[in-house]
Structure formats: C-alpha cells, structure tokens
Symmetry: C2
Subunit: 333 residues, 2 copies
C-alpha cells in the first residue's frame, strides 16, 4: 500500500525509532545516519500518516470550525480570517456546516473528536444544554456570535446593539427623526440585538417619535416588501437590519420614483462588498468579520495551550459606521 516508516527503516538499515528521530529533527542522531535516512525517505516519498501521528501525540494540528451555513459573504470572510490566522500557526482547518437540527449539529461535532485540537463553534443551537450534551468537556472551544453567560468557554461576537445605536444616532444627526427599521428573523439573536439598539436609540435621540418597525427576515425580498410599505408611510429614513434588505428596499423606493436620500434616506448593516457599488452608495455598519475570525482563532489557540493564568475571554467586537451617500442630510419634511 502506502510507504510507512517501517519501509524507510528497513531500507536504511536502522530502527523505526531512529527514522522517527531523524525526521522530526531530534538532536540525538548522527549527522551521517540522519542524512542517509532523509535521503531514503525522500527517495521513497515517505510521508507520515497523520492519523497515527496524532493518535500518539494527542495533537492534530487542526482546529475545527462548525458553522451554521457556508452561504454568503459573511461566512466566506469569517473562514478567510480563521484560515489566515490558522496558517500563520501551522494549523489546519476542518470546516463543517450544519444548518440543521441540534442533533445534526451534535453529530457533526462528535465526528470532529480526535481530529481537532479545538473547536470554533457558531451555531444557533449552542445553548448551555446543547453544549453540556454534545461538547466533550476536554475539547477547547470558542463560541462565535453565540451568546453564553457562563464563563465556561471563550466567546467573541459582534456588538450588534451598539452598532444599531450608532446608526440611529448618525441618522438623527443628519436631521432625520422619523426613522423606520426593517427587522430580521425574530428568533435570530443578532437581529434582536439590532432591533433593541434601534429602539433604545430612538427613545433617546428622537423622543416622542413612535418607532416604526417593518418585519423582515434578512432577505432582499423582505426588504423590498418593507420598502413598499415605506413608500406608503413615508418615514424620513429607513434603517434595514442588514444590507440585503436595504438593497431590496432601495429597489422598491426606486420603483416608486423616490430619490435616495433626497426623498428618503437609507442605511443598512454589514457593509457587504456590494454596498458601496449601489446607486447611491449605501451607508452601513461595517463588521470586521475576518478580524473576528482571526481573533477567535487566537483565543482558541490560547484555550488549547493555556498559559499560566488562563481565563476565558468574552469579547464583543465594535462595528464601524461607514457613511456613504444614501444617508446624506436631505430635505427635512
């Protein structure tokens, strides 16, 4: 079959122990034999078997990333950030998406056991119960965008609430007061946080103005539907809980002959690549996704090899307001 360390040992006329030592750069082996072994190994195209190696060393040099989905720019960026940081440390990346039931997610998680040194977990099912049931206690884990109170695991997530507050403040600062909001899926934690920020900031920045909330689900279609409602109700500005809905809304406004921002301002959330190419370019909150991925991996590495006084971290990453033409100060109605 495949060439093993035994084959190399036999060909070199030494024991497997010596081959192992030579190949792993230990110093207790004569330069002469080391060279001979290296030469033979190269000639035979010997490549060590990862499974066997990690079985004995209890290290896989691999981290797992369990994500709810792989669709869209968000996960793409996240994976890129994770991969970037992993490569720098010589780690590999075992990804798995599991947009299914908690059980399915648990199965995916279980299958990673013994193949990864640690886990980056981002899952809508990842509550205390789930983790207690499916997560092996010995597996270092970092929770991404998944809130959890107990300091059991490190976690890192986006400051959705703060970002929404900032955006409302910005719009209010531009002179808009009747600001509508297009919400995300009700069960989505991030969507709820953004809504909460909107509500809070409205109460503070635009006192006396009744919050105006359109239901949505993060899709372009939902944004379009909300946009049609906005055309009828004429808020001064619309703040969509994500950019895709802002895009849908923008289309609806254009169809109705409204000019943005002159007739109605518009803002989104996420700063997807498309945002700056829209007409007009979209004001939005930028999420440093790749950076979050990098930080998550760094925290995971820390959890895998805990230093002297290790404590889990709980980060919330700030978002950045990106002002573009869609929220320029317009005519105050």
């Amino acid at each position: 079959m495949s060439v093993t360390i035994k084959d190399v040992a036999k060909a070199a006329g030494v024991s497997v122990a010596s081959v192992s030592r030579a190949l792993n750069g230990h110093d207790n082996v004569t330069p002469a034999t080391r060279e001979r072994i290296m030469a033979i190994a190269a000639e035979l195209r010997y490549m060590p078997n990862g499974a066997a190696r990690s079985l004995i060393t209890r290290r896989t040099q691999t981290v797992g990333a369990l994500l709810p989905d792989l669709h869209g720019a968000f996960f793409s960026e996240l994976i890129r950030g994770i991969d970037l940081a992993a490569r720098q440390r010589g780690l590999h990346l075992l990804v798995s998406s599991s947009h299914g039931s908690p059980d399915e997610t648990g199965a995916a998680l279980r299958a990673m056991l013994g193949r990864v040194d640690g886990l980056l977990l981002m899952s809508p099912h990842a509550d205390d119960d789930f983790l207690a049931t499916h997560l092996p206690p010995a597996l270092p884990t970092v929770l991404v965008n998944t809130w959890l109170g107990n300091g059991q695991h490190s976690s890192i997530s986006v400051d959705n609430h703060g970002g929404a507050v900032t955006m409302v403040e910005h719009l209010a600062g531009q002179g808009y007061t009747r600001i509508a909001f297009i919400g995300g899926p009700a069960h989505n934690y991030e969507a709820r946080e953004r809504l909460r920020g909107y509500r809070e900031a409205m109460a503070r920045c635009c006192p006396g103005v009744e919050p105006l909330i359109y239901a949505g689900d993060f899709t372009e279609e939902a944004g379009h539907a909300a946009g049609c409602l906005a055309v009828a109700q004429r808020p001064q500005a619309v703040f969509a809980a994500n950019d895709m809905m802002a895009i849908g809304c923008l289309a609806a406004l254009h169809e109705a002959g409204l000019r943005v921002p002159h007739d109605m301002a518009l803002a989104g959330f996420d700063d997807i690549p498309m945002a700056r190419y829209l007409t007009p370019p979209l004001t939005t909150m930028r999420i440093p996704i790749a950076q979050i991925g990098e930080q998550a991996l760094q925290d995971l590495v820390l959890a895998i090899d805990p230093p002297e006084h290790f404590a889990t971290s709980a980060r919330t990453t700030p978002t950045e307001l990106v002002v573009r033409a869609s929220s320029e100060a317009g005519r105050a109605d």
Copy 2:
C-alpha cells in the same frame, strides 16, 4: 483524560470488542447487552476517537480541499458547493489555502495525508512535475480549474474559452464590432483562455477589426485604468475578463460622463452577486461555481470508491450568458 472504549467496556462489564460491535450496529450482539452498552456509552458521554478509528479502518470520512486562496466570492461559492455535496455523503471537509510557493503547497498537501480519503486540488503550481513530487500516488485526487493533459487524475474546469467566445458573439450580435478586451494576469491560465476566446471570436465575428486589448490583473483598479484608456480610444464595447474589472471600468466611464450602454457597452465575466446591482446592471458570463464544487466532489467520491470500470473524467463546465442592460444594443457609431 477523555473517556475511551475501554472505560465503556469496563463499566458495562463486557469486552471492548462487544462495545465496538454494539456501537457500530453489528448484528451479532444480544439486544440486551447492546442496550446496556448504549446506555452506558451515553451516560459516560463516550465519543470514539476519530484518529484511532481512521488509523485502523483506513477511512477518514473526510476529503481535503487545497485552494490557492480563500478570498472572494469564487472560493466561497466553491467551498459551499463542495460542502453541500460532502454533507450529503456524510463526509467532512478539510480546507487549506496555500497562496504561496509550490513548496508551501506541497507541505500543506503532505500534512493532509492520513487525514483525508481524497483531495480536491486547485493550485497554480499543480503541473505534472509538482504532482509527481508531492502527491502520494495512492491518494485519489480531482484537479479543479487546473489543466492537465495526462488522464492520471480526474479534472473539472470552467470553459473560459467558450464563454469568451459566447460573449463576443453576443456583443457582435448587438451590433458592436469595435470590441475591446481587458485582460487578466498574464500567468493566469483562466485569463489566458478568456483572451484566446476573445481573439478567436473577434477574428470570426468582426473580421477586419483589429483586436484592442488592455492589460489588466483582475482588480477593480486595473479595470478603472483600462476604462480611462477606453474613454480616449472609444471602442464601441468593452469586454472585461472579469466582473471586478468591469466595475472599475464602469466607474471610469461614468467619471468621463459616458453613458452605458448608449455611448459604450460593457460586459464582464463571472457574474458575481454584485453584477446585477450595478447601474446599469452588468451583462456577464455566469459560472456555476457551486455546481462545479459539487461535481468535483462527486468525481472525487468516484475516484475513492472506484466502480467496476472506472476511468478518470475530464470535464469542462459550460458558462451561461447573462444579458443585462449594460450590453443593450446602442447607437452604432
């Protein structure tokens, strides 16, 4: 440390063999003992060690994907397609990017040995030499977007040449004859194929018209620079080798006050998500990326478990012309 099969065996008062049989659903075990074992295993939260298991079974239930990079919509979609098909078959995905030297790529490849059942390889370095040196002969491999003549491995790639031909034919059909081309990086195989298609189609569809080629490198900036040249030279249409350059070009045309397509038509290649949201929406060639990923994985599965009469496949996936406003028939100069 972690709970092993031995712990379960001891707790259940049986041998490890019985535990293994019970857990793997073999039929030669009494329902009574099976149940007892299952219960104890659940109680102890036993989860089999993947490394140990794959060492003995010689199966990892994992495929590797070695990509040049993880940046951008292309790889995101590709990974999604691969993951989709992998999940359907209960396979996991070990991804690795290696936008570095051939040696680095080789090292990444080597590290996958023993951890994957097969490999999806997409690398600019993947020529015959490279494969002979770094690829273990026993590792089933599918080459993605990487041309290779010998039928050693299955391969799947995009019909870049055909796509470019189709686009030129479309533009010519719209009445444009002086069609310029913005090329990609000279060393890039896909870019070269698209250029070749442009040249060939121009000779056939627009005889007598000298091909007009602007240098580019697939970036928006390069597209902008080329667009500035186009403003001066006034071809009737510009065909960019990818959408990002088309976007840059579009910006340059707008800055110069040119209307698209009235003053100059524009087309791209790739159909990135952004393309349909531009003003005007961009005509482009759609690449079924996710589908390619799925197909690649399916071919890999075939190579891993070869049926009776297995032969490597060499697919080229057709691209699809997506006509939008940027290439509408304009005024013939």
